[in-house]
Each structure stands twice: as structure tokens, then as C-alpha cells.
């Protein structure tokens, strides 16, 4: 699942002239757009999900928590496109609202673990020596804890909800990011241009923040995108087990849990719809992450 660290050795032959003027940013975007229809579709899916999450109250046709026991486990019709669950709540509306906790959780996990992991990885790569050994071994030790176990521990200490699993997942993901950033930064640091800035009198801090970090940022973004999908899946899993988001709040994980009983009554939609949403989101994040990695690999050549 690690994005393949593309060879960072500068090619001996001078880089071929790129046809498009390489304005940073825009050229990148155009390059990404050229990744193919699958990539575009994945980006569109993610944008759609994000919009659903942000504008859920306006997009959802019904209130996600209004119970209508008289209309329990209704099939799909014009009013309830995906039918209703056991309590008669509209599945589509719950799905749309579920995107909020579904995306917010991984967003927090990835944002915080990326910042912490990047900082740790850069310090380890730059200082080397005993600092590197200490940080790397500490990260290895943390790495040995399964995220799920950590999360369950965290829930026991705090209480079930979004906070405890997010804290646990952040702790579990930070060493992961840290190890990756360290390995990329070590390679980048070995490139002669870093030394040439050093001998111009630039401090370690300015070389790192102005040159090293910006140049490895695409790698970190690619890595984070893939991690986002995994975090989403694991948080949904925790919710499914009852450690995460608590009912009646709409969340994909809890929806699968609540809907599984209905399968016995031949109503698949309440459990299947959130499952499908999780799969689509995770796959879309995976495709986007891979696409960015490919783009980096192409730029390297």
C-alpha cells in the first residue's frame, strides 16, 4: 500500500524539454487531468461526496432521523429512492448525512497524522544519527500496535463517539506517515542541490522548509490520499462495532450495523447502500492517490 518510491536519482541525460510550459500548479493540474477517465471519475466522485457532506441538509430529501414506524423497511419508490430502514427512516437521506461523519473523521486523522508524521520524518531524516534512531525505533514501536486495538483501548479510556477513535487512529497513522516521509526525505536530502544550498549558508530550517518539503509534498499528498481511504474504512469499521459514532446519528458504519438485521427480512438496501458508499469512497481515494503517485513518477523521468 506504500506508494512506490520512484527513483530520485537525477538522470544523467539532461531532461527532455517538456512541451507544455511547466508553470507550477497549472501544469500539474493538466497532467493530472491527463491521467485518464478513471482518475477523472474518481475525482468527480470525491467532489460529489464532499459536496453531499457539506450541503447535506439541503441535498437530503428527508430528515435523516425522523422515525416513521408505519413505513418500516419500505422498498424504493419515488419518495424514498433507496427505501427506508427498520425505523422507517429514509436511507438516502441517512447516506447523505452519513458522509459528514464519514469524511470528517478520516479528514481529522489524515490532517493531524500528516502534520505530525511529516515533522517527525523530516527531523529524523535531517538530523540522522541518534535522533533518527530514536525517532525511527519509537515509530516502529507504535507501528506494532494494530490501529483497531488502539482504538478500542481509546474508547475504553474516553467514551464511544467520533473523538476517541479519531485520536487512536491518529496515533496509529502518525508513525506510518513518519516512516514514509523519512524515507522520501532521506533520498531527497542526498541530492546535490540540497548541499549546494547548504554551502550557500542557508540554515537547515530554511533548506528544509523552502526546498526539501515543497519538493516532497506531492509524495506526501499521494500518500495521504490513499491513507484517507483506509482511515475511512477503519473508522466505519469501528462505528459498525459500536465504538465510533453512536446512533441515532447517521453514519455509514452504524447504518451497516443497524441494517444487518433487515437482511433476514429480505430488505438489503439499509445495509447494502452504506456498504456501497464505503467501497466507492475507499476505491475513489485509492485511484486518486495512485494517480498522483503515477504523476510524480512521470515527473521524475
Amino acid at each position: 500500500m506504500t506508494a512506490a518510491p520512484a527513483s530520485r536519482v537525477p538522470s544523467a541525460a539532461p531532461a527532455a524539454k517538456v512541451a507544455a510550459p511547466p508553470r507550477r500548479g497549472t501544469a500539474w493540474m493538466r497532467g493530472l487531468a491527463a491521467q485518464g477517465p478513471l482518475f477523472t471519475a474518481a475525482v468527480a466522485t470525491l467532489v460529489l461526496l464532499a459536496l453531499c457532506a457539506v450541503f447535506a441538509p439541503f441535498v437530503a430529501p428527508h430528515d435523516p432521523e425522523t422515525i416513521d414506524l408505519g413505513n418500516s423497511l419500505a422498498g424504493s419508490d419515488a419518495d424514498h429512492w433507496l427505501g427506508t430502514d427498520q425505523s422507517g427512516r429514509d436511507v438516502l437521506s441517512r447516506l447523505i448525512h452519513g458522509a459528514r461523519t464519514g469524511l470528517l473523521g478520516p479528514l481529522l486523522v489524515v490532517a493531524v497524522s500528516t502534520v505530525l508524521g511529516t515533522a517527525l520524518g523530516l527531523v529524523a531524516a535531517w538530523r540522522g544519527g541518534w535522533v533518527d534512531s530514536l525517532l525511527s525505533r519509537t515509530m516502529d514501536a507504535l507501528f506494532a500496535f494494530p490501529a483497531m486495538l488502539l482504538a478500542i483501548l481509546c474508547v475504553a479510556v474516553f467514551e464511544a463517539g467520533l473523538t476517541a477513535p479519531v485520536i487512536a487512529m491518529t496515533v496509529a497513522y502518525t508513525p506510518y506517515v513518519g516512516r514514509y516521509v523519512r524515507s522520501v526525505a532521506v533520498q531527497e536530502k542526498a541530492r546535490p542541490y540540497i548541499e549546494s544550498y547548504r554551502v550557500q549558508g542557508w540554515s537547515a530550517w530554511s533548506v528544509t522548509t523552502r526546498h526539501l518539503l515543497p519538493n516532497i509534498t506531492p509524495n506526501i499528498v499521494a500518500q495521504s490520499t490513499v491513507s484517507f481511504g483506509y482511515a475511512l474504512m477503519e473508522l466505519a469499521g469501528l462505528s459498525f462495532l459500536g465504538f465510533g459514532v453512536q446512533p441515532p446519528t447517521a453514519d455509514w458504519g452504524t447504518m451497516v450495523n443497524e441494517g444487518q438485521g433487515a437482511i433476514l427480512k429480505d430488505a438489503f438496501m439499509p445495509a447494502l447502500a452504506p456498504c456501497a458508499a464505503i467501497v466507492v469512497a475507499v476505491v475513489a481515494f485509492g485511484i486518486v492517490g495512485e494517480g498522483i503517485s503515477d504523476r510524480i513518477a512521470k515527473r521524475e523521468r
Binding site: 537525477p10 539532461p14 531532461a15 524539454k17 517538456v18 511547466p22 507550477r24 540522522g128 541530492r191 546535490p192 542541490y193 548541499e195 549546494s196 544550498y197 547548504r198 554551502v199 550557500q200 549558508g201 542557508w202 540554515s203 530554511s206 523552502r210 526546498h211 515543497p214 519538493n215
Partner: protein
């Protein structure tokens, strides 16, 4: 007071239990406005010597001796002083320009970064960068500022790197094989630019190369290094015409010549040894056609002779007649 004065510099690299020496008692001087060549084969320690001038030492290396720039010892400098030294007084031009420039930043950013950090406003810094580019012979300097490193050829990019090195107005320029990565026609241009800007600014230059003929063509004085020691030094012309050390003579004989009556190039037999595996006596003895038993037991010291210095036990015997 010399601009650069390396005095008895020794560098020892610890590798496991056995310490490995890289440099042994290297001394050299560069005066203001002087171009000094440092010539040697791969592994002779010339680049290590050059880098210590900026306070760059191999990781974990132990050094002794002094490296004084304008009288101040670089090896004893604290971080602040080193930073001031690197950003102002001493600048370095590396071997491969393509590797020594951040590939994703514009040339303008690369050239103005140091000026901006020194508090020069953006417009003024860009203007200055344009002047520097014009000085190293880049056409359309304004346009070049907006371009990226990969849009330049190797030679052009090396000019940009030289311009960047000159930006801080250095008193001493270190050129570590600045033309090795370039093709021959570009080499001549880059050498010309280095030489011209150096003369205009009165900058002292330490020119590190493995090419003795190139060094002889552009340097005022030359130091020849072998296995971590200086084996001969004298004025470029005299060294080229009448080398006193068998190694220098061997280097000159190994270069092909276009003269119609020239002898074919003669390679130096054997392979270069490092200071680490150095047997007692003269390090060159195993490859030297003039070596005697005394050469294999007694280490020659660098001794002054007419106009230079040579570290050869048989230098006075007039063994070299070329």
C-alpha cells in the same frame, strides 16, 4: 595575509575500529585575485580539501590543522560565523549544474533567494539577478529569470550557477571540477567566463580538477595531490614545462598531444592508492619508474626547491629529463 591559507590540514575518517586517513598535512594558499589549481586523481582528497574551506567535513571525521579564510580559522567557527562565511565570503561552483539546482524552482528564485534573505527588495533583487546573468553571457536575462533549470543546456545552467555564486560578491570562489560534466566546447566557454569574472571582481579562485593541462592553462599556481598529500607545487608554466615529481611528469605524459612529433600517451602503471592503504614510504613508489629501496621506506617531505616545492626523495638527482 593570504586570502585562503590551509595549514597542515589532516582529515581522518573513522570507519569501524580502524581510523582511515584521507588528508595528511595538506598546506596551500590562495592570494586575492589569484587562480590556484588543485590537481589529482579520483580519491586523492582534492574535493575533501576544497570542501573543508566551507567547513564541510565528512560525517564523523576528525580534523587537525587550520583552514584560514582572511585569517580566521574556518574549522573553529560557530554556526553563525559559518553561515556568514558561506553566504558571503566564499562561494562554490559544483561539478554537475543540473544536480546542484533545485529542479522545480525558477532561475529567478534561485538567483534572488540569497539577495532577498539579505533584505534586498524583490524588484531590486531581480534586477541584480538579471545583471549577473548578463555578466555570465546569458542572452535575454529577463526571460531566463522566468525559466526552469530543465530549459537550459548544461553549459548555460553552469553559467547560471556561476552567476549565483557571484551574487554574494565572494572574495574566494571554489570551483570543484566545474567543467567535468560538460562537453568540451562548452567547457572552454565556461572556463572563459570563470576566468573573466574572476579577473573583473579580483576574486581568488581555487580550481579543483583532475585535468592537469586544463589547470595549467588557466591557473597561476598549481598544487598536485596524490593519496591525500601535496606532492608538488609551483607556477603553472614551470610545472607544465618542467615537472619535478615523477607523478606530475606521469600525468603530463599520460595526456595525448596533437603535436606531430609527440610521443604517444603513456599511462601511469598501476592504480591510484588511497592514503588509507598507503604503505610506508612514498605513496607513489609502487607506480614510480624511478623508485629505489629508500623510496619504499622513507616518506618524502614537501621541500622547497627553485620556485616551488616537491615531495620526492630523488628530486635533486635530476632524474626527470623531459
Amino acid at each position: 595575509m593570504a586570502l585562503l591559507d590551509i595549514d597542515g590540514l589532516s582529515v581522518v575518517l573513522p570507519s569501524g575500529a580502524a581510523a582511515r586517513p584521507i588528508l595528511d598535512g595538506v598546506s596551500l594558499t590562495v592570494e586575492t585575485g589569484e587562480v590556484v589549481g588543485l590537481v589529482g586523481e579520483s580519491g586523492s582528497g582534492k574535493s575533501v580539501a576544497c570542501r573543508t574551506v566551507l567547513g564541510l567535513r565528512p560525517a564523523g571525521a576528525r580534523t587537525s590543522g587550520e583552514v584560514r579564510v582572511s585569517g580566521r580559522d574556518v574549522l573553529a567557527m560557530n554556526r553563525g560565523a559559518l553561515k556568514a562565511l558561506r553566504s558571503g565570503e566564499v562561494a562554490m561552483v559544483f561539478q554537475d549544474p543540473r544536480a546542484s539546482v533545485n529542479p522545480v524552482r525558477r532561475i529567478g528564485d534561485f538567483l534572488t533567494e540569497g539577495l532577498r534573505a539579505a533584505g534586498v527588495p524583490r524588484d531590486r533583487a531581480l534586477e541584480r539577478a538579471g545583471e549577473l546573468l548578463a555578466e555570465v553571457g546569458i542572452r535575454d536575462p529577463r526571460g531566463a529569470l522566468r525559466r526552469y533549470p530543465h530549459e537550459f543546456s548544461g553549459g548555460m545552467l553552469q553559467r547560471v550557477v556561476i552567476a549565483a555564486a557571484l551574487a554574494g560578491g565572494p572574495a574566494l570562489l571554489l570551483a570543484d571540477e566545474p567543467t567535468t560534466a560538460l562537453d568540451v566546447t562548452t567547457q572552454a566557454e565556461v572556463i572563459g567566463i570563470l576566468r573573466r569574472t574572476q579577473a573583473q571582481h579580483g576574486t581568488g579562485m581555487l580550481f579543483v580538477t583532475h585535468d592537469l593541462e586544463l589547470a595549467a592553462a588557466i591557473c597561476d599556481r598549481i598544487y598536485v595531490m596524490y593519496a591525500g598529500r601535496v606532492v608538488e607545487t609551483r607556477g603553472a608554466r614551470e610545472l607544465f614545462d618542467a615537472p619535478r615529481h615523477p607523478y606530475t611528469a606521469g600525468l603530463l605524459a599520460a595526456a595525448p598531444s596533437l603535436e606531430p612529433d609527440a610521443t604517444p600517451p603513456r599511462p601511469i602503471p598501476g592504480r591510484p592508492v588511497s592514503l588509507a592503504e598507503n604503505p610506508p614510504g612514498c605513496a607513489f613508489a609502487v607506480r614510480c619508474g624511478y623508485a629505489t629501496d629508500r623510496c619504499r621506506t622513507e616518506t618524502p617531505r614537501l621541500a622547497a626547491d627553485d620556485g616551488g616545492a616537491v615531495a620526492c626523495l630523488r628530486a635533486d638527482e635530476g632524474i626527470l629529463t623531459c
